[in-house]
């Protein structure tokens, strides 16, 4: 304790440096996020308050006009549709994804890996091309209609393509694997005897399923929900390709404003609203399901 002041300072500096050892690790991402996430989002927020000139130039004057425009019935309708579709997609994905995951886990062994593989591989194919393939399949002259016609089940082709139904179908088609994966992971994490017990106890297996298995896989379901619901909210390719560009979702509004009309402030305001909603939902679901869901997402 007899050390002079300067030594104390040097020690302090050395200590400070040795305390910052984490910097080389988290420094790069911090800078990256600051530069390419926060800054652009900030710019979007800023632009969303700017006025637009007659030729679409951005003027440096403040306005709330773009946000006011969002209250237009057409916009509200689009946002409502976005929600309904995303929610519906989520429910459908859950309803068909859960039994599938359950089935796969029950199959066990080598089959398990193979069956899971079958779920994942389609998602490695170019998303656009998959949607295109779905389009080919569901068209009036597509395989489905042709098969139904040949079987005599229908007399005239079903209108599937370019309907809201086609949009939801496309969303489910695109995001189903994201629901199956976390549910599969949480089911697999369960004690296998629990699954067996819920079947062998005979009397009320369904009840057991609802009282034991389902609550235990809640985390997986929540994670799946986040993984499906969030991207559905921002989707724009499906409505464009399968909805015939007439069943718009919020993502289409943004794309249209940014790219088609080049109205950056208007596009920005929609982007701000959509992002706020998404972040809010994530926040709420994390609060509800706790950190655990967050961990599961990884």
């Amino acid at each position: 304790m007899s050390s002079s002041k300067s030594v104390g300072l040097r020690e302090k500096a050395a200590k400070f440096l040795s305390d910052q050892v984490y910097l080389p690790y988290v420094g790069p991402i911090s800078i990256w996020i600051l530069l390419f996430v926060f800054a652009p989002l900030g710019v979007v927020l800023y632009f969303s308050f700017l006025r637009v000139g007659p030729f679409g130039q951005i003027l440096n004057s403040f306005t709330l006009e773009h946000y006011r425009l969002m209250l237009k019935p057409t916009y509200i309708q689009v946002f409502m549709r976005t929600f309904v579709f995303s929610f519906g997609t989520n429910i459908i994905c859950l309803l068909i994804g859960y039994p599938l995951a359950y089935f796969i886990v029950r199959c066990g062994g080598k089959w398990k890996t193979f069956l899971m593989f079958l779920v994942i591989v389609p998602s490695w194919t170019c998303y656009l091309i998959r949607l295109y393939a779905l389009k080919t399949l569901t068209g009036n002259g597509g395989l489905i209609n042709e098969a139904l016609l040949n079987l005599g089940l229908i007399s005239s082709p079903l209108n599937i393509l370019y309907t809201p139904f086609a949009v939801v179908l496309g969303l489910v088609f695109g995001f189903l694997p994201f629901m199956v994966l976390p549910i599969y992971a949480s089911l697999e994490g369960l004690d296998p005897s629990l699954l067996e017990a819920s079947e062998d106890l005979g009397a009320t297996p369904l009840k057991r399923f609802f009282t034991v298995t389902l609550p235990l896989t809640k985390g997986g379901i929540l994670a799946g929900t986040i993984l499906v619901f969030i991207p559905s909210l921002g989707e724009w390719l499906v409505p464009m390709l399968l909805g015939g560009a007439k069943v718009m979702m919020a993502g289409n509004l943004i794309e249209e404003q940014y790219i088609k009309l080049g109205n950056i402030p208007a596009g920005s305001s929609i982007a701000v609203v959509l992002t706020t909603i998404v972040v809010l939902i994530i926040y709420l679901s994390v609060k509800m399901g706790g950190e655990e869901v967050l961990e599961r997402m990884m």
Binding site: F117, N140, K246, I259, G262
Partner: protein, 400 residues
């Protein structure tokens, strides 16, 4: 996340890496299999120009030596155009002849081009092809185009029809050169559509009950609404509130009949999914060749909209001389004819007509005399201010 279940041990990981490597090699090998296309041009500058001049056929004028030499130095041409539109030979022949490399990017809609200019006035493309007058107007307002040096375009001076250089938005074609033109129309499938009103727009805009969900409209608000305006007898670039209100009502009535918005519903039309489709008269030619059942109606008596494909050189163009060579090259009568014959558009030069394929010449011959002249152009009124605002409102309501 996804891989978790597959990559449990280290061995799997290494095997996966090996597998991935093989896949990558396969992918990388693909391009290598293809024949090398690029060839070096003649070495010495002077002889190169002479050679170039000598290689020209009759009726083809060379660009001035100055332009040619500058182009040789620039060595590259960045083109921004529609995908898979013009035949590949147009590009490869040019590359070979001028010894330059063409880099092409595609846009999916004209507003995309305008939007890109708004974001980046110095867009480094040398050539923008296939944009319509109304996009040119929007782009010109941004002051991002280079003035075209007509001294470097002897073929254009020799062959372009005077009517294509006298437009109000760009007199003397200082900033934009027509490459071709056409008119809007609609196609119908004879198997399903039998309507006495053909060839009126009425078939499309006030369709029979049985065509519900069988109609496609062009996914572009200017073009789509221009058809409706023409049908109602109004100028296609109207910015009149009352007229556009009528258009709105018409379109909202039409909404349940619309299957999809698609700018080029080739597949839908050919497959017989769409029975009536808004589309150009020239595309109709291509479709009719593919399937005789798809017939094109040239809307009469209402008239139609003149479609225009223009060539632009942005201010930010790094290779302007090559761009001039390109325009001049396109205006060789044989090249013009080949281009127009392949994509179903009308040439702006009379000299090229004789080189058009026979069936195409017949197709154009069916257009009544004076029809083109009667067609309106989407001009400034439609693309700025109130015209734009009213259109956007209708469009959003229609599509939401």
């Amino acid at each position: 996340m996804k891989m978790k279940n597959f990559l449990k041990g280290k061995r799997e990981v290494y095997s996966f890496m090996a597998g991935a490597l093989v896949v990558l090699l396969l992918l990388a090998g693909l391009p290598a299999c293809a024949p090398a296309a690029e060839e070096e041009g003649p070495a010495a500058g002077e002889t190169a120009y002479d050679k170039y001049v000598a290689s020209l056929s009759e009726g083809e004028y060379p660009v001035p030596c100055e332009c040619f030499e500058q182009a040789q130095e620039e060595g590259e041409l960045n083109i921004y155009d529609w995908a898979e539109w013009w035949p590949e030979e147009i590009y490869t022949d040019f590359e070979e002849e001028f010894g330059v490399k063409i880099v092409r990017d595609n846009f999916a809609s004209e507003p995309e081009v305008v939007a890109k200019f708004k974001l980046n006035p110095e867009m480094p493309y040398d050539m923008i092809t296939g944009v319509a007058i109304r996009s040119v107007i929007q782009i010109m307002q941004l002051d991002v185009l280079q003035e075209i040096n007509h001294d470097w375009l002897p073929n254009v001076s020799a062959y372009i029809g005077k009517e294509f250089t006298e437009f109000e938005y760009d007199p003397g074609a200082k900033y934009s050169v027509f490459s071709d033109y056409g008119t809007d129309s609609y196609w119908y499938n004879t198997e399903y559509v039998d309507d006495a009103r053909i060839p009126s727009w009425a078939v499309l805009f006030e369709p029979d009950e049985k065509y519900k969900g069988k109609i496609t409209l062009v996914d572009d608000m200017f073009k789509s609404l221009a058809g409706a305006l023409a049908y109602l007898g109004y100028p296609v670039d109207s910015d009149d509130e009352a007229q556009l209100a009528e258009v709105r009502d018409l379109m909202m009535n039409l909404k349940p009949y619309v299957m999809a918005f698609d700018s080029y519903p080739k597949r839908l039309a050919l497959e017989g999914e769409a029975w009536i489709s808004q589309g150009t008269y020239g595309d109709g030619f291509i479709l009719n060749k593919e399937s005789g059942g798809v017939v094109t109606a040239q809307p009469t008596p209402e008239g139609s909209r003149l479609l225009s494909d223009l060539l632009l050189i942005p201010k930010g163009a790094p290779h302007p001389a090559v761009a001039h060579c390109w325009i001049n090259y396109l205006y060789r009568p044989r090249t013009t004819a080949f281009l127009c014959g392949s994509i179903g558009v009308q040439p702006c030069s009379q000299a090229s007509l004789e080189f058009l394929p026979e069936d195409m010449r017949e197709w154009w011959a069916r257009v009544p005399e004076g029809y083109v002249a009667s067609c309106g152009v989407i001009g400034e009124r439609a693309v700025t201010g109130k015209g734009l605002e009213l259109r956007t409102a209708i469009w959003e309501e229609l599509k939401s």
